[in-house]
Structure formats: structure tokens, C-alpha cells
């Protein structure tokens, strides 16, 4: 399926009905972000509290057991930083 930016008006289904369930995963909510979570691994205890609280389920566990945000989806809301027990997450401005 074409990405949203590639679709012409002729590609749209009648009434803009979405007949392909689950395609919200294509939606790059990471575009909204102005701050990005950065984990200081020296202080991270790999507890997964950030993973539990992330409202977009944008945080996943790496093979080493650390937790990191998928920046395709992460909106930069800062809830992970707020909830982190050890304070190892800092929000860094997106400078671009």
C-alpha cells in the first residue's frame, strides 16, 4: 500500500473508508515530537516502568534488556521521564 504522501485523490476508496484494518500502525505519530527521550544506561535498572506507562506503546525492550522508544511513533510526551524511578530518562529537544 502507498504511504499517505504518495496517495492521489484517485487512489482513495469511496468515502475514504479504510478497508485495511490495523493500518494505523503506518501513521507516523513521531512527527508530532518536539522532545525526544534519551536513556542514561548507567542509571537504568531495566525495570520497564517506562514501557508500562507509555500511552502509545512506543517503547520496546532491546536484546540487552534496556528499554528504548521507537521514534517512528514516540510523540515526545515525557510521561516516561516523569515515571522513571531512577530519573535516568531526559527529554532532549529535537533540533532540526
Amino acid at each position: 500500500m502507498k504511504s499517505e504522501e504518495e496517495l492521489s485523490w484517485k487512489d482513495l476508496e469511496v468515502g475514504c473508508v479504510i478497508s485495511d484494518p490495523g493500518n494505523a500502525s503506518q501513521y507516523r505519530t513521531g512527527d508530532w515530537r518536539s522532545m525526544r527521550p534519551v536513556v542514561n544506561k548507567e542509571h537504568c535498572i531495566r525495570c520497564g516502568v517506562c514501557y508500562i506507562f507509555c500511552p502509545d506503546m512506543a517503547i520496546h525492550q532491546t536484546p540487552e534488556g534496556y528499554f528504548e522508544a521507537d521514534l517512528y511513533y514516540c510523540k515526545g510526551c515525557g510521561i516516561c521521564q516523569q515515571e522513571c524511578i531512577t530519573g535516568c530518562i531526559s527529554m532532549v529537544p529535537e533540533e532540526e
Binding site: 485523490w9 476508496e13 469511496v14 475514504c16 479504510i18
Partner: protein, 392 residues
């Protein structure tokens, strides 16, 4: 041929909806639409019509229910007027965006304030750009025929758009007219079963009414506009086949005595009948007057209108609504745009009259004719528009 009966037009309109074997009617009563929904609720209550009649708590809910039932694949009807349409407004714009083929009769009535229950076109003009197919009926028979026409066009898979059928409040809704009912066989021949383009189905789940980001909204609107523009050949075909089935022939733009006419009135809705009398009286006096009636308002019939007005020196557009602080009446504004750049473009004079049911007689139209001649012959200043009959 169907039986011809003398009947109130509202009752006939409701009978036409029933003859279309509608599945869902969701409506809230409002003058002057009331008799239509009352009669439909009676038919359902008496078991004469197998349909869901949903007595909603507001017009906003009425149109919301209609969107839901149409999306579920049900043949859906509603009916409103004036303030009801205003309350319905938010959802009115959603139906064509979702391509839901709902049919709505609008019993045209002025908008408050001052509060008024009488007829003009200020209600429908408030939603001019809502994206529905919009037609105007001139007589009770036209209302009856166009109920079936509206379902036929709306549900055409190549169209799949909602249709507003405008009928003038009281002037049409509350009069008794001779109306020829369609035989069930004629309805069956003309109106196929509703096969929705998209229907909510648990086995094939879809999302209807998703949001559109800036990256897709323009494409969605372009697709919607194209759908409305390209509904026209299907509208013409539906009228052609209506003619074959019941022998009455309708066109997007109707003409009356336009042969050799220099000054042509342009009307929408029931006043076409009165203006026709004025034009006939003018012709009897040797005045080269004619009449053009716009039946199809959206999609706007540019080519047919230009064709009908070719050769005319001036056009008198009768508007029954005002674009406050703007160019006068909304119909005149559209007609000027349609004619702009035409070779030998006729002068367009615009009279706003008949607001909130005020009587306008053939003599009034003859007076407008004279005034239009004076305006375009430089005897008086060419106003953009004239509020006809307003006490100074």
C-alpha cells in the same frame, strides 16, 4: 399509468417515500415539514410500511442516525426545515464526505431571526456548499416523482451521494394538488434494491469516518468534488428513465417561452409557476420575455444554463435568500459566475423577493421586468440587487 388523486403534497411525498420501501426514517417534526414525517410514522405504526421509524430527540440526532443506518446498508430518509436544518448542520456535511446515499426532503422555510415559519430559500442556501446533490421541485407531482428519483440517483453505485429534495414550505407542503401515483411495478422498474458501495459488515471490518491529516484532506475533498461533478450524467440518465417509466420529462434547466426572448427570468422552486403567468402576460403584450427554471442546483448545470440563456440580452434572477453584505442573492451570484466571459454575456439583474412567504404576484414580476429594462438601459443606477417590495 398510476391513479391520479387529489391529495396534500406532504402526504403524497410520504407515500412516495413509503413506495420506495424505505428501511429507516429518522426525523424530528418541524413546521412545515411535519405532515410528511407524521404520515410516515402512521404508515409504520399501522404496519403498512415495514421500516424503522426512529423518533429522535433532535435534528442533529436525526442526521446522525441517518449516517449510521445508511452506512449499515439501509435505505434511509429524513426530512426537515429551517431551524431543524441549522441544528443538523454539523452532520449534513459529513454524509457526502462518507458518500452515504441518504435522501432528505427540505421543506424550505426562512431562518430565524426574526422567527418565521414561512417559505423562502434561506435554509437551503445556508448549506449551499455541503456537498449534497440538490434539486428543486416546482409542483406536487414533481415532489412525488423526485422522491423516487432521489433514491435512484443517491444509491446509484457510480454516484453514492446524498440528495436534498427542496420543496417550498406551505406553498407546496400544505396544498392539495392532483398527483399521479406510481404503480408498484413502475417503482420496481425504476428503483433497484439498494446495494451499498460500502456497508458495515462484521466479516469485512472497515473504518468509516476516520480523520484526515493535512497530507490527505485535500485529496479527500478533491475526490468528493469529482464525485459530485460526475454525478451529473447519472442524474440525466435517471431523469431520462423516469420519463420512460411515467412519461414525465425533467431536465436540469427547464425553459418556457425562451424562443426569441430578450429578457429572461430565472427561478428555482414553486415561484416558477407564478413567473410563468407573468411571462405569458408579457408575451401577450408583445414583450420578448422568457423563463428559465433551474431544477438542478448541485452539481450546478453550467452548460445547460449557458445554452438556455444564449441570445438573451438580460437575465432577471429571482432570489429568495440574501448573502448579507455580499453580492445580493446566492443564485444571481452563481449565474453571473456561470455567464462570466461568455460572448454577448447578458446583463444580470437580481431581485430578492418572497422572503418568509410574502406574496409575490404576476403583477410584481411584471414590475420587476420593467425595472430590469430601466436598470439595464441606464435610466436608473444599476444596483447590484434590488430588495423588491421593501417599504422605504
Amino acid at each position: 399509468m398510476g391513479k391520479r388523486v387529489g391529495i396534500e403534497v406532504s402526504i403524497a411525498a410520504a407515500d412516495a417515500v413509503a413506495s420506495a420501501n424505505v428501511d429507516v426514517v429518522a426525523a424530528y417534526p418541524i413546521t412545515p415539514q411535519t405532515h410528511i414525517v407524521e404520515h410516515l410514522s402512521e404508515l409504520v405504526n399501522n404496519g403498512e410500511l415495514d421500516a424503522e421509524f426512529i423518533p429522535v430527540e433532535s435534528e442533529h440526532s436525526a442526521m446522525s442516525v441517518c449516517c449510521g443506518s445508511s452506512a449499515a446498508g439501509a435505505r434511509t430518509f429524513t426530512c426537515t426545515s429551517s431551524q431543524g436544518l441549522a441544528l443538523m448542520n454539523e452532520i449534513v456535511f459529513i454524509a457526502p464526505g462518507l458518500r452515504l446515499p441518504i435522501v432528505m426532503i427540505l421543506a424550505n422555510r426562512s431562518l430565524s431571526g426574526p422567527l418565521s415559519i414561512w417559505n423562502d430559500h434561506t435554509d437551503v442556501m445556508s448549506i449551499r456548499d455541503c456537498g449534497w446533490i440538490q434539486v428543486f421541485a416546482e409542483t406536487g407531482q414533481e415532489v412525488y416523482d423526485h422522491v423516487l428519483f432521489s433514491f435512484r440517483v443517491a444509491e446509484d453505485p457510480a454516484v453514492s451521494l446524498p440528495v436534498i429534495l427542496n420543496m417550498d414550505g406551505f406553498i407546496l407542503t400544505h396544498v392539495i394538488e392532483p398527483i399521479e401515483y406510481w404503480e408498484p411495478g413502475q417503482v420496481k422498474r425504476y428503483l433497484p434494491d439498494f446495494k451499498p458501495v460500502n456497508a458495515l459488515d462484521p466479516d469485512h471490518p472497515t473504518t468509516v469516518g476516520a480523520f484526515g491529516l493535512p497530507g490527505i484532506y485535500s485529496e479527500a475533498k478533491k475526490a468528493q468534488d469529482e464525485a459530485l461533478i460526475h454525478s451529473k450524467p447519472h442524474i440525466l440518465k435517471a431523469w431520462e428513465e423516469l420519463g420512460q417509466v411515467v412519461g414525465r420529462h425533467y431536465k436540469p434547466v427547464e425553459t418556457h417561452l425562451t424562443e426569441g426572448a430578450e429578457t429572461v427570468f430565472l427561478t428555482m422552486g414553486s415561484i416558477g409557476q407564478t413567473v410563468a403567468m407573468a411571462v405569458e402576460a408579457l408575451r401577450d403584450r408583445g414583450e420578448p420575455a422568457g423563463l428559465v427554471k433551474l431544477r438542478l442546483w448541485r452539481p450546478f448545470p453550467f452548460e445547460e444554463l449557458r445554452q438556455a440563456l444564449r441570445g438573451a440580452k438580460r437575465v432577471i434572477v429571482i432570489d429568495r435568500a440574501i448573502s448579507y453584505g455580499g453580492t445580493g442573492g446566492p443564485v444571481a451570484s452563481e449565474v453571473r459566475s456561470a455567464l462570466y466571459g461568455e460572448e454577448h454575456m447578458p446583463a444580470v439583474t437580481n431581485f430578492i423577493c418572497g422572503l418568509a412567504g410574502r406574496d409575490v404576484t404576476p403583477e410584481d414580476y411584471i414590475a420587476m421586468y420593467q425595472r430590469s429594462l430601466e436598470m439595464t438601459q441606464g435610466k436608473v443606477g444599476q444596483e447590484d440587487f434590488v430588495f423588491y417590495g421593501v417599504r422605504e
